[in-house]
Symmetry: C2
Subunit: 124 residues, 2 copies
DNA sequence: AGAGGCACTTACCCGGAAGTGAGTACCTCA
DNA sequence: TGAGGTACTCACTTCCGGGTAAGTGCCTCT
């Protein structure tokens, strides 16, 4: 499969955690799911401006495999799939908050631009 | 140059922090420097089994550029360069501890192997 | 004299992560 | 009727992080 291991061996815990969040969109997916509780595929796609469908699916599948997200399929007429965080996903998100704060500080320090993630308008 | 931006724009703080620790050896370098306070190039090389000199230098240069490590050159007869963490490097390392704990938990959960970082033996 | 340590630099190559774009089966709404 | 939404899959390409290997200038040890 396209699923590349993510099973170590690792040097330390940070390694093991980084392996699981490595991927351009994974922290954002975590943030979205944490923020909204549960989201559908198309909602996530709209929430992550610039993500390709292929990448989004691939990341979601890997995160499901890693036990971070839960995937609930509703066999309805317009197909409906809901994604949410598992217990492990929630604790990972919590473990990331201090890193997030450090990053926010850094953005302020270097005066980095922030991508606007507003619900409405297309970016650029 | 080989230095690839690392200046955003970012979606959020986690992005900004991940950008700076992205790189196979950066968390380990952080750990080494944090643990020993100050380390020479060859000491780091020996401490990170499997790292190539090119990668080690490249990572150190980027981390210096990002204000995480301090590079002190002693113009002596056998050249001597000492690396240490800056204030920002120390705070980043601190922000990573909770993530490290999460990763350690995960390693226990999935029963991942741990690379032995003993001074002596070559690993496999 | 030659081996070896120190702190690098340079050139080249490879694999995998990520992007692009199209196709699918079914349904709803204007 | 056809445009668009839903949740995908598949094939192809590009890019770049990381590995390999060699060279450099200077010194010390045997």
């Amino acid at each position: 499969m396209a699923t590349t291991a993510r099973r170590g061996p690792y040097f330390c815990g940070i390694d093991a955690a980084m392996d699981v969040v490595a991927g351009k969109w994974k922290p954002l997916i975590l943030w979205e799911l944490r923020h909204y509780g549960t989201r559908r595929f198309a909602e996530l796609r709209r929430g992550l401006p610039g993500v390709s469908e292929k990448m989004l699916i691939q990341h979601l599948r890997e995160m499901e495999e890693d036990g971070l997200v839960h995937r609930e399929v509703y066999r309805e007429v317009p197909p409906k799939v809901e994604y949410s965080l598992t217990e492990h996903g929630i604790s990972l998100d919590a473990a990331l908050t201090s890193l997030g704060e450090w990053g926010t500080d850094r953005m302020r320090r270097i005066g980095a631009e922030k991508v606007s993630v507003d619900v409405a308008g297309p970016v650029r």
